[in-house]
Symmetry: C2
Subunit: 276 residues, 2 copies
Amino acid sequence: MRLFNKVAIVGTGLIGGSLAQAIKNKRLCSQVMGVSRHRKNLIWAKRHGIIDLACADIRGIKDADLVILATPVETIVKLAPQISKIVRKDCVVTDVGSTKVEIVKKLNKLFKHYVGSHPIAGSEKRGIRNSNPCLFAGSLCLLTPTKDTDPVSLRSIRKMWEALGAKVVLVSPQSHDEILSVVSHLPHIVSFALMNSVPQSYFKFSTPSLKELTRIAGSDIEVWKDIVFSNRKNILKTLVHFQKCLDQLKSALKYNDVVGLTRFLKESKSKRLSLR
Amino acid sequence: MRLFNKVAIVGTGLIGGSLAQAIKNKRLCSQVMGVSRHRKNLIWAKRHGIIDLACADIRGIKDADLVILATPVETIVKLAPQISKIVRKDCVVTDVGSTKVEIVKKLNKLFKHYVGSHPIAGSEKRGIRNSNPCLFAGSLCLLTPTKDTDPVSLRSIRKMWEALGAKVVLVSPQSHDEILSVVSHLPHIVSFALMNSVPQSYFKFSTPSLKELTRIAGSDIEVWKDIVFSNRKNILKTLVHFQKCLDQLKSALKYNDVVGLTRFLKESKSKRLSLR
């Protein structure tokens, strides 16, 4: 199913590289161009057939009919004005940023055919060398249209993600950022803090549970710095709520409240069992 | 290598069942007896060759030369006085409890040949039907001898765990409980609290990171209630320290402190990369 002619992916890291492979595998366009400052990565990607065309100059995207911005959040916001001067007027533009309010506000103004995307997929491993054409199969992809979104572009972008195997759900940019602050940003924050709270001298006693809960503390710092700052208001709220839950547990321990603690553990276990 | 003649395992859940299988596989004794109130489990275990003998009456352990207590922590403490009246005087006794100060204090008084063990292995899945003879291979096993511990019994118990593939480390019961409050009890507490802080209405947006960080919130409640209360003083200290780490992050967000946050993330990532 060909949805586009020439797709340009700006930012060829884990997500950009995986998208390039997936789009090529599903034959959703005739050509995939990778755009990046990292020439070595581009050469590697082209040699491995991940992209058809490699371009280190952003102006190379001028005849694309779909541009996907797959850089860290801050870079999406910074590059967008420049990109808006290069692309064709009918070019569909999407991004894969992990926060949406700021990006959608800005890109809606710059592009007539912009649709915000956020595939809930990834890895703590970064870079195109870890990219995987099946990354989106079976995953969730949130699209964040507003009243300004062109319905035809929304339909094409939806079709693209569905063709890659994702389950698409539409939410407002505001809801997106609230929800993500809980289901994604909080687990990462917790993981970073947990890792920092463990003294290095205890590492030789490391347990499977510690390793599991801190795996994502090894995530890319550039990516996470941007996510955390661009959604800081929601994250702060979410953190306050999480700390209240911890305080509940703490006071049950402090006052030897077996009933209260048991209730807390039971609620947690039963919620976990219903989480798919 | 036969280390014992008759081994009685009191409590045939995940750990007890895995121990029974592992000890039989390695031929460390001539007979493994499973002792449990749950007759159905005993019959199932015997039929599947996990134990040689099934016994629902604790008095059946009277001629064992090794007794392993593999029940939740509180039950170990409660059963020990009764068991001390049944076993032979030269019987070696160990337990697999996840906290050690209280258990070691009590069992040292009751048994001449007691050695505290804690295999750092497990699963959020409970019960003998999830038991696995390879559970201890490559895992860490902490032994907690004191000045009262009989060195010959310590040597046999050490040999047993090493034969099952575990790496044995000796620590005092006090150090054990301090260390475990950080490397095991804290991750579990964090996981329970994280799960409870996520509203059920967000479950349809569940992410891989949320699922990963809350997997152990599905752990056995009886087991964890006992662990948490028997080590509550250390856990409270650990929680205070963890909350300080969270507060650091929170204030970096609140005051838009990019440098502080980046430093925090970098430290966390570099620690995670050195955690084996």
